[in-house]
Symmetry: C2
Subunit: 409 residues, 2 copies
Amino acid sequence: MTVYASSTTGPVNWERFLAERTHNMKSSAIRELLKLTQDPSVISFAGGLPAPELFPVREIEEACNYLLREEPKRALQYSTTEGHPPLREFLADTMAKYGIRHSPANILITTGSQQALDLIGKTFIDPGAPILTAAPTYLGAIQAWRAYQARFISVGLDDHGMCVDQIEDIIKKKKDTPRFIYVLPNFHNPGGTTLPEDRRRLLVQLARQHDLIIVEDDPYGALRYEGEDLTPISAMAPERTIYLGTFSKTLTPGLRIGWIVAPAEIVQRLVQAKQGADLHSSTFDQMIANDVAQRGILKVHVRKIRKIYGERRDTMLDSLAEFWPAGCSWTHPEGGLFLWARVPEAIDTQTFFKRAIEKKVAYVPGINFFPLGDGGNNAMRLNFSYSSSDVIVEGVRRLGLALKEALAE
Amino acid sequence: MTVYASSTTGPVNWERFLAERTHNMKSSAIRELLKLTQDPSVISFAGGLPAPELFPVREIEEACNYLLREEPKRALQYSTTEGHPPLREFLADTMAKYGIRHSPANILITTGSQQALDLIGKTFIDPGAPILTAAPTYLGAIQAWRAYQARFISVGLDDHGMCVDQIEDIIKKKKDTPRFIYVLPNFHNPGGTTLPEDRRRLLVQLARQHDLIIVEDDPYGALRYEGEDLTPISAMAPERTIYLGTFSKTLTPGLRIGWIVAPAEIVQRLVQAKQGADLHSSTFDQMIANDVAQRGILKVHVRKIRKIYGERRDTMLDSLAEFWPAGCSWTHPEGGLFLWARVPEAIDTQTFFKRAIEKKVAYVPGINFFPLGDGGNNAMRLNFSYSSSDVIVEGVRRLGLALKEALAE
């Protein structure tokens, strides 16, 4: 063996090896905020967590035992990138009930919906490529696509969701064809809004006129507490829509199982992207989700959480009306996990956050949901699925108190 | 609601929306080959599957039951991107036994080792950036990094692994500093080779002299069938090495749990990349792996599979010596799942594949492991972990027969 002089073991300058795109990548503001709310005495409306006391634990345990007795070699082995075939069949059937008529071959199972956003970024976004979203929009999408150096172009979001009528002007003015239009039609995160039928039709019309692609993100669609289901955009324009679904809100998020429904040539591209990303999603978790879904347990469970989350939403709406000062307003979500609250202009929700934490209550400041950081200064996102009704009342009361104090100064 | 003229619903030209990088992305050759070997009468040495009959099924069932009774709210809920803290602590302790002294804060849990490769690509690879690997090298790494448009630069692989002595000339000649050097020191996939201590030291010396980063991929390190453990490169140069481990080969691959050990500033970057990629790996699967590992079951299980895989390796080596014609040679792996076999120059292993399938036996042609497609024409990768000894004998016999027939023509 050669003997050689020892050389430096000093600190490595990693910066010079980093890819350009890392300059766009930041830790999620929410995840950083959540660290401040670890204190169990803080009432947190900040996260987007389902209520863990409602998880169908016994049913999942039954599924585990069944799978490990009947199909252990399959449940614990490598599997195909596309996903567990019976689960894809189940999802194709379920989607068909909502009018989305695609075969199991059009479905790709993902490691949560977040991976779907990442795979879409990898497949469609070149550095500087324009992406059209509403502002505010889902933070996880901003984060996923910033990593691919997307250039965000935004239209407004009002109490009926994305301002679809602004799209045409934006496209014409910018002379930039967006790689896709990102839309959260049902119970928007963070807006809590639902895109009405006419806006959905207008969006499809525009997309067809200008030959554009739509990414329809629908994590909460099954969690409707009032009104009737609306037609998914994917059902209106199956030829140009990539639909994203997930079990995170309806079953449990810890299993990390989501799915994409898209035209075959796009599924094929996304499968290639996923092969390089993680080969396939957990076989065991896919089979658990499939077992719970196939046995009809998911359906019963969704009915249960719809009832309870609906009550929690009502409690939050009632408490806001009772405890918050004049000059505030909020959306009235027909489903989902969140509402969007606006406070008087004198209050900046980023600086107000410190005061809220002193009162032991947390939320996410609105600015975090604006891809260009150009709005939401007087707004906040409030979650109503995680806390029990008693806690919601108390948290909203504390926030109301803090708002009144801030306004009095 | 506005009434508007219907517009085209014809096929969408998706191509024009695709990112540049998709031109580099292909379906894995192995995954395509595996489709040809679905026929259960085909003996497959092509995959890299662990033996499913050895999975510790009862122990995993116990873990599931325990977790769902004791910690269901945690096991099924969202968790931190970094990973389940007790698992990170366990891994830090385990790594320390191999001389890798890092704290749990230096460990990031990934969705299989494949995701670690993807996150490294996302963090370090700009389009056209040079990456230094051996050729042949792991196909999953080629696939992950092609998606980031890496430019592969390769050195040879001989019976002692990566030809580390070729690195310095390459770096000087190309005037390109690679973003990192990718090395599989233990039981190389596909080579079956082990990098000796002196080459490891030379690699570290070169990396320090030229201030380079090393990615040490070690999926098989615990599966050694003869000889002594060698010092991990990460233990020799902790300041500049990113180490990748996985439970896929030691426990089960279906759970998709791997990990990265790296300096803190790099873990932080990789955490940001992972947040956008899938938020976190399955909480449930992480806790199952942790439970099985903490209860000492993993250790016992690894001892068991080491014994059986070692016997299968011996069977394959003996069968090759018995059944294959003169002019063939193969590596003698000290561990892992694969060996690399070379056949006479007259035989191209890509065209020979068809003949092998006719004889109902499959392998992976060597060329697939060459990032530039510039070698391996007379080589193949053979897996010895998946099939029982009887099946291995028969498969090697069939391949020998096919080789003799081809040589006789």
